[in-house]
Symmetry: C2
Subunit: 356 residues, 2 copies
């Protein structure tokens, strides 16, 4: 093995972390790093942010041997407009974190910051994969599937998607499920208002045919149209939709879960007797929370770029941050970005051949 290939392999286990994003500040993010080191013994971090703030936190958690600080003066705020950050964001920890992926100093990048800004900087710095028109954000949706979650994309990278974009989402989502979670031949569904073939908008009917024709080359199974109620089921592994619809569905599910959770708390707080019964129900309720816990599946992945970027929820606590970092680590280690590029190139090639 040459020195260079050795270096490449090593860098795949390095995660580049924007320490300044997130609602709870760098201390929560560093606490998340600590949790990650207990799950992945050979993980290392490039930690981006102001050295004077980060050094004491890293010291405190005895993380020095895992971390290299990359100093960055400023940070992107939640209110910053993507267009501005794209032009003037050079000194920020977010920009610096993505640059480490571009320069192959790390296998992947994690940020809890402003989603729009993160996507904008990622586009500018990493560029789109050849053959990809619109990158997408893929999230993990709690489900009754074998992995306890399904992959859903796009949930908001772009509000538009035509039939070719939807085909690319299918290819990328299947590759993500395969490389990230070991689903050999992912079952892909296209989100629609009914499962009959004649239903829905024109671009959905066109995408139906395109995805069907590409399933074999893309090494996935196409289960056809699926409905909103199918998203958390075991009948599908990857759900494909445009970023407008995906974002509405995701936030509606969050709202529904919040509504039921609050109703459950109200029901157990209703009377002295119901408060007592909450004590007895503690075990099952904790088990429910664990199964439906969004922290366990935290991490939206940007697909379609030359490099892997994971967006963690802004409100994530240390457990949530560790989940996002674990995901980034697995994808980096599997060289997912390279495999995805090959998959897209091969599918595009075969589509072109078919058309010739």
């Amino acid at each position: 093995m040459t020195e260079h290939s050795h270096l490449t392999v090593k860098n795949n286990t390095i995660v580049s972390v924007d320490a300044m994003g997130g609602d709870h500040g760098p201390s929560t993010i560093i606490a998340g790093l600590l949790l990650s080191t207990k799950q992945h013994s050979n993980i290392e971090f490039l930690v981006h942010g102001p050295e004077d703030k980060l050094a004491p936190l890293i010291e405190k958690h005895q993380l020095s041997k895992f971390c290299t600080i990359v100093h960055a003066d400023s940070a992107v705020s939640m209110d910053d407009k993507p267009s501005q950050v794209m032009r003037h964001g050079k000194g920020t920890s977010m920009w610096s974190a993505i640059t480490s992926v571009k320069q192959k100093e790390a296998g992947s990048c994690v940020s809890c910051g402003n989603t729009g800004a993160l996507m904008a900087i990622s586009m500018v710095r990493l560029r789109k994969l050849p053959g990809i028109n619109r990158p997408a954000i893929a999230i993990l949706w709690p489900s009754f599937g074998v992995n306890r979650f399904n992959v859903m994309l796009d949930v908001g990278a772009d509000i538009r998607a035509d039939e070719n974009d939807l085909l690319q989402f299918a290819l990328m989502g299947a590759s993500y499920a395969r490389n990230g979670f070991g689903v050999d031949r992912p079952r892909v569904g296209l989100l629609n208002v009914g499962t009959e073939e004649h239903k829905g908008r024109t671009e959905l009917k066109l995408a139906y045919d395109l995805i069907m024709d590409t399933a074999e080359t893309g090494n996935f199974e196409f289960v056809g149209f699926v409905e909103g109620s199918d998203i958390p089921t075991a009948k599908v592994d990857v759900i494909v939709t445009d970023g407008f619809t995906g974002n509405i569905a995701l936030k509606t599910a969050e709202g529904t879960a919040g509504f039921i959770g609050r109703s459950l708390r109200q029901a157990f707080n209703y009377s002295l007797l119901s408060k007592l019964s909450a004590f007895f129900a503690y075990g099952p309720l904790r088990r429910l929370k664990r199964h439906t816990d969004p922290r366990a599946v935290n991490g939206g992945v940007f697909l379609g770029l030359n490099g892997t970027v994971v967006k963690s929820h802004g409100a994530a606590d240390a457990t949530g941050v560790a989940a996002a970092i674990g995901l980034a680590y697995r994808l980096g280690e599997a060289k997912f970005s390279t495999k995805l590029a090959a998959r897209v190139a091969s599918a595009n090639g075969s589509i072109k051949e078919d058309r010739n």
Copy 2:
């Protein structure tokens, strides 16, 4: 009071019922009628279906003094295509039930049958209100609002809606909330992927301005863009969206609630101890179910037609059927259809004046 006006007032409390729709057959629907008579002492029914099947059921529940059977030989099935039913559906109980509303023999109509067929027959028989381009289906969404639910439309009458359709949905939804549920000045929100004014698709930005300009004439308050997570909250009474997005959101919420419900049952079935704690939690869990019970808010209303049609869930039990009938009764009694027509005409008038 003349004989004729007396008749008109009387007919408003008559509900026309398609007894042959629904997954559980006519016996469940007649059981639902029985429950309704306990809630509304002056309610009466025109019951549409085969006389030889319906007469014994009505007899059994001692409902003869509330019911007039209107004989119809055949029934629309769940698999029938709307286009076929529109042309050949004349002898069906569904067609007959809607015809009673057209002929003002009843103040409103309820069916548990095929939604597409019901909308198609309603369009053909009742016709669109002057000034309405696309009718919409409005449903009640469990929420933390004062009425414990919000109004959401369109959830699937049509997969398209331009800015003018969305404006009409806002007017109709506000009128429905006012007349159906006594919300004096409903707060209307437009569903989007973010609350900032610059976000979303072009037709949404155009609709934003149109709805804003019409709020005062339409006697509602416009709260601007809302997100999926806002649907079950108390910050809005009426949520406006196109039928594609609305249908995806509705089914995603159903899927999420089903996922959490099943997870909750699994959690309580986990061990002997957790089964025991389920016994103690019986009261709070029943209270939760009541608060989030879809049966209590069963009933999608078709808005934008010359007459009120309520679609009950196909799987509704007697309680669910009674909820849909109660809704139809209230709307019929309030002469909602006439008031809605006046509201749409007045808003259209003022829009035209503004443009002159």
